[in-house]
Subunit: 208 residues, 2 copies
């Protein structure tokens, strides 16, 4: 079907500690046709990081040129220092092959991607409750009380953006959340507006 | 979740011979929470038909009164004789319980239901090709050549309406079509606009 239908761009957001990395990794382990988007950054590579795998490492000049060429789905500057962005080229080339691309990104980034790419599918991974999210952060044993309070307050702000997403997946049991992500992928591929080539083929080119 | 979220109204169309009855029956056999909509009609019951199970049998006067009370999602008169309609009350009471309702209906009826019920989910069950649909009709051994030609021509007209539906499911292998219907149900229930109550609960009532 790859030639009849493009792959999907799945934009995934969710508060810190909700387990979106775990859900996405489990989903990709089952589906080799799903790829994780690779970001571009101006920060220096850390030991072991490979260009084109962990990030596309760019100089400030290269990054600026890409901005000028409208080569990003979205980009941002972190703490007035390094730039991070989502190059369009990777996402588009994978989708043209029929692969799906997951883009893990915060709510502000997700809104920019929706604007740049209206056929993106926006999924918010939510905790069963804020209380449970807090318990998970405490359970990590690596967060200070202050950090837990900040993350919980941020989580509430992020949850308020939920109505701007297409779908919400509650990460209570990981396997169930993965199953729901799979259902979203399957059904989005069945949307008539993603199958105009197939419809043209069925009707000999005529639709109303 | 029944109290947090209404069930779905699934409007299912597809050409004669495509196997939509088989797909829907298999889906309902797996999911007792899915109910088939019961139509109202002015025609006389046939032997064995039970009021409220096969149809709601109505007099012409009762049917007219229901039209006046805006009690139908859609209705039509067949061949200038009997009336058939979809009573809102059955669909709404099942959805309020958290059950899903399937409404098998032709493309004109589906368009009327979409207007009366904007949160309905419209699914078109399509054959892998018109050629295969024709082969299935021939395979039945009960259709005349003329009837096959008429049905194939009607099928093409119906397929042209595909872009007006939300989803298309190709009925090639029944089990796969059923799996796709299940994915549509699962993912539609995850749509943020169907979960405003849950979102309110998560955020303590605040959203942007």
């Amino acid at each position: 079907m790859a030639r009849l239908r493009k792959g999907l761009l799945l934009v995934v957001s969710g508060p810190a500690g909700v387990g979106k990395g775990t859900v996405n990794a489990a989903l990709m382990a089952k589906h080799p046709e799903i790829k994780m988007s690779v970001s571009a950054t101006t920060r220096a590579p850390r030991p072991g990081e490979i260009d084109g795998v962990h990030y596309f490492f760019k100089t400030k000049e290269e990054f600026d040129r890409m901005i000028g060429e409208n080569a990003f789905l979205e980009y941002m500057q972190v703490f007035g220092m390094n730039y991070y962005g989502t190059p369009k080229s990777f996402v588009e080339s994978e989708r043209e092959k029929g692969n799906h691309v997951i883009l893990e990104i915060d709510v502000q980034g997700a809104m920019k991607v929706r604007e740049a790419c209206p056929d993106a599918v926006l999924v918010f991974i939510a905790p069963p409750s804020l209380k449970i999210l807090k318990e998970r952060l405490v359970g990590r044993g690596t967060e200070t009380q202050e950090s837990i309070d900040v993350r919980t307050a941020t989580a509430l702000e992020e949850l308020k953006m939920l109505p701007k997403y297409d779908y919400m997946v509650i990460n209570d049991v990981v396997e169930e959340a993965v199953g729901e992500m799979e259902a979203i992928l399957t059904s989005e591929l069945l949307r008539t507006e993603r199958n105009t080539n197939l419809i043209m083929k069925l009707t000999g080119g005529e639709t109303v």
